[in-house]
Symmetry: C2
Subunit: 331 residues, 2 copies
């Protein structure tokens, strides 16, 4: 295992400490519960948004805490759901008079933790609701999932909910926009290499020197099929052939197109994929109105990428355009 | 070789096409000369800033074109200097009444191309000057360099020059701030793996399963020494032991701290390194006033990181804080 790490068991808290030290004015890190929250939360005039998941998907979700995005994130250990108690403590600390919306990618372990946390919070009188994200078209059920998995499309749900919450919308309204964005978002990914959780010390699965996993999950779960590596044009074609008919996206649609890196793929390759996908969509009469290229939801150092489409309407486009500030700034 | 690529010879133009398609309103791509420029350049009221280098270091430099940063970037092929004629064409297209500043990382091939381009531009009556960046403390001379190499610290030179140019400063003033930032910026990097240029198809060098290259260059050039992998604490200590005494940085200083990823290292590990470095600097009495964590200047998919310190004064801090907009946005 070649990683920058001290004690593999302390990988997550040491990362969280780094996030806190890089953002001393805007972020609070609570080590007892592994949580990262906005220093100015809770704001009683807005719904608070919380997302959590296993770690290893950074920048999701601990690095997307900030104005217009999440109020807090509660990560578990690498690829493990956070304990329900930690989710509950997170919800409690950011709970506002307008309520708390918990966002959860659809994995069995995460669902259990968040549903239990919602019950605990409600028992305290906190107004709380939960929204499940399941944008991955690759497989119906999976190693850790009943139903479709939630992957990089969760970014768009967070962004729309975060923006509407900043406008002062109610919990029901914020949940409704999140559900609507989830319902028009579709993703599929592909892995060129496996990844190695620090505490495991060895790759999660094996891929041959010339193989790729099509439809891979963000924890290295199997996808649709394994095949020999092909040129980028053919990879994009296969991803679009899975994603486009699923909603379906059709000629005349305006979409957001995201090429998300899985952690180990350089951004040069992601832009190359973006160019191919944008051109093909244009050829289908689909307008790429918003573009996203980079690492949004990763699998540690896995080489690979996913392609997400979101069908836009006026409201969704307005919310995606709204300003936001997150931990992981460039400037 | 496991990459998202079609024809390896077309890797750079296909990436540039992707950048253009993702930024149709703000960026112009000129395929004949491989150049990316701001759609609103030249602005006659400001100095235009151009940087080029071999490709493979993305987001540097083709993804840092935008307001407050570069007016244009002219990349060569992967790890190869751009042709002088391409640099000249780039300078010509963005030339303003206030002149053009060419920024160049200190490598022999790049110096030759940019010096020749400056002569060609001046022969056309374009007011033009060139600034060399050499922040890497690892080695004195190198495989492709006489004198120190320019690496991730080039970000700070671009940022300060870009911000001062937006304020309407003269060419001499913009060059002077760039030279001053370069003179107080120090970097050293470390590689955990090699990288594979698409057209070569095999790794640039070999590293054992448990080895790291300390002081590596951004083209995989040898650094100071090769050693067995050690915990992150010890790696940060060695990088700081090289960087801090070199300027030197001393107790009472305010600094910018950058942990730059070399392309294949996940941002979780970069924040872990940041936390260790920030804590150690604080223990030395050095204040980390500005924080930068992410991929700024990479070596394709190389796993590794570099640590940069910039000694701040009031003017440099003001320029680093100034707003900027680049191709590679997150929202």
């Amino acid at each position: 295992m070649k990683k920058f790490v001290n004690d593999p068991q302390a990988f997550v808290p040491e990362m969280l400490k780094g996030i806190a030290l890089a953002n001393p004015d805007t972020i609070v890190y609570v080590p007892e519960y592994n949580l990262i929250m906005r220093a100015d939360a809770p704001n009683q005039d807005k719904v608070s948004i919380v997302q959590g998941s296993g770690s290893g998907h950074e920048p999701a979700h601990v690095m997307v805490v900030g104005k217009g995005m999440l109020d807090a994130a509660c990560p578990g250990d690498v690829f493990a759901a956070p304990p329900a108690e930690y989710v509950y403590e997170t919800a409690k600390r950011v709970a506002s008079a307008k309520g708390v919306l918990l966002l959860v990618n659809n994995y069995t372990g995460d669902r259990m933790a968040f549903e239990m946390a919602q019950e605990m919070a409600e028992a305290d009188g906190i107004v709380c609701d939960t929204l499940f994200i399941n944008d991955d078209v690759a497989v119906q059920d999976s190693l850790y999932t009943v139903g479709r998995r939630g992957v990089a499309g969760n970014f768009f749900v967070m962004k729309a909910c975060g923006a509407l919450a900043e406008e002062g919308a109610s919990l029901a309204e914020v949940k409704a926009i999140g559900e609507r964005v989830n319902s028009v978002t579709r993703t599929m990914g592909i892995a060129l290499t496996a990844c190695t959780p620090p505490a495991k010390g060895s790759p999660l699965f094996e891929l041959g020197d010339n193989e790729m996993e099509i439809g891979v999950g963000i924890h290295g779960e199997p996808g649709r099929r394994r095949a020999d590596l092909v040129p980028a044009d053919d990879i994009v074609a296969e991803l679009l052939d899975a994603v486009v008919p699923d909603l379906p996206f059709v000629s005349g649609d305006r979409v957001a197109l995201m090429i998300n890196g899985l952690g180990g793929t350089p951004i040069s390759e992601l832009y190359l994929l973006f160019g191919i996908a944008a051109q093909r969509l244009e050829d289908m009469g689909i307008t790429v109105a918003r573009s996203y290229v980079g690492n949004y939801c990763t699998s540690l150092e896995m080489a690979g990428a996913s392609l997400t489409l979101v069908k836009l309407d006026e409201e969704i486009e307005r919310l995606l355009e709204a300003p936001a500030e997150i931990v992981n700034r460039i400037f």
